[in-house]
């Protein structure tokens, strides 16, 4: 069985953890009533997670360009192979689009990100309430799109592992 490279595995699982953390932090933080230091902290951590995912996405894409994944197992129906390609491309697009939309949203709100409280990320434009109202739903819907994709992706992997009993999931495990 040909596995994914160790680097691909590391990036995959690391980003999975960061993305899931950012997602739940995002859901939690917007529901906090009023305004407290905790809410402020959650927003900052959420943005730091997002920026980290974006940086790793660049590394991930570069690695993927140079290292093809293992070939589809023999006998896999063509539609299934195509569906997985589509899903994976969508996920690659989303690991860029979601954090970028977040960056645009926070920039539009005139709250620039200071990564880890140390490195200011320059805002590319001056925010206005109108721009803020545009980017807020974009970030939200892209996030929900990613959530749906992740559920489908994980579900398919588990289906392959427990129902088809093939190596699909094993290839991504060290």
């Amino acid at each position: 069985m040909q596995r994914y490279t160790k680097t691909a595995m590391l990036l995959h699982w690391l980003m999975a953890i960061l993305i899931i953390a950012a997602f739940f932090l995002g859901l939690t933080m917007v529901d906090i009533k009023g305004f407290s230091p905790t809410k402020l902290r959650y927003y900052s951590w959420h943005k730091w997670l997002g920026m980290t995912v974006l940086a790793l996405a660049v590394l991930r894409a570069l690695w993927r360009l140079r290292h093809a994944p293992p070939p589809a197992p023999a006998g896999m129906p063509r539609w299934q192979h195509q569906a997985s390609e589509l899903m994976h491309y969508a996920l690659y697009a989303l690991i860029f689009a979601v954090p970028l939309s977040g960056y645009l949203y926070t920039t539009a709100a005139n709250v620039p990100v200071v990564y880890l409280g140390l490195l200011p990320i320059p805002p590319l434009f001056e925010g206005t309430p109108e721009l803020k109202a545009v980017f807020k739903p974009i970030h939200y819907w892209l996030t929900m799109g990613m959530a749906a994709a992740v559920v489908a992706h994980a579900g398919a992997a588990l289906k392959h592992h427990f129902i088809d009993r093939d190596d699909i999931l094993k290839r991504m495990l060290p």
Partner: protein, 184 residues
């Protein structure tokens, strides 16, 4: 009129203009009072939407000038309704008890061409302190444009009490910026 009379009249007029300061009309729409501060090291600038600025200024004799700035503490616009409501609460401005914050000048001195040093009393949340800060002034199309920055420490006025005393969340240093456009 004879030349000497004209000269006398002109100089009298000149003298009377020079001697008096004139209360300028502030263009509220073009003027702003804002607070710049850092939250978790992220720089933020927020405006007080409601302000009343009165400047009594004479370019030829700045020493006779006076300035008062009054802002409504509940009018700070942080960009989110939830945050704006929070900043009016007891731990922050306590706008219910202290609806206004004021600055009243006690002296304005020239500090070079187009520069002034303004000294006066700043009152926020019931606490008054003596402050002094630089102000630049320039004439633009018949109007006077004043720009000043007054650095304060928010904890000196108890702005941000309880869990908000933590200066790693919101820094102690806050700069109040004035941009005033006024016409005679």
């Amino acid at each position: 009129m004879k030349i000497t009379h004209r000269v006398l009249l002109a100089s009298l007029l000149g003298l009377s203009l020079a001697a008096s300061a004139a209360v300028l009309k502030t263009d509220a729409a073009k003027s702003s009072v804002s607070a710049t501060f850092k939250q978790m090291n992220v720089p933020v600038e927020s405006k007080f939407k409601k302000h009343a600025i009165v400047i009594d200024y004479n370019a030829a004799a700045p020493d006779a000038s006076k300035a008062t700035v009054e802002i409504e503490t509940a009018s700070l616009d942080l960009g989110e309704a939830e945050m704006n409501k929070e900043v009016a609460k007891k731990e922050w401005f306590n706008s219910a008890q202290f609806p206004k914050a004021t600055f009243v000048s006690s002296s304005i001195k020239s500090a070079g061409p187009g520069k002034l040093t303004v000294t006066g009393k700043l009152t926020i949340k019931g606490k008054t302190t003596d402050v002094s800060f630089p102000l630049t002034v320039k004439a633009e199309g018949g109007k006077q444009v004043f720009d000043g920055a007054l650095p304060i420490k928010r904890l000196a006025y108890n702005i941000g009490e309880g869990e908000w005393k933590d200066t790693s969340m919101v820094a102690d240093d806050v700069t109040i910026k004035f941009h005033v456009v006024a016409a005679p």
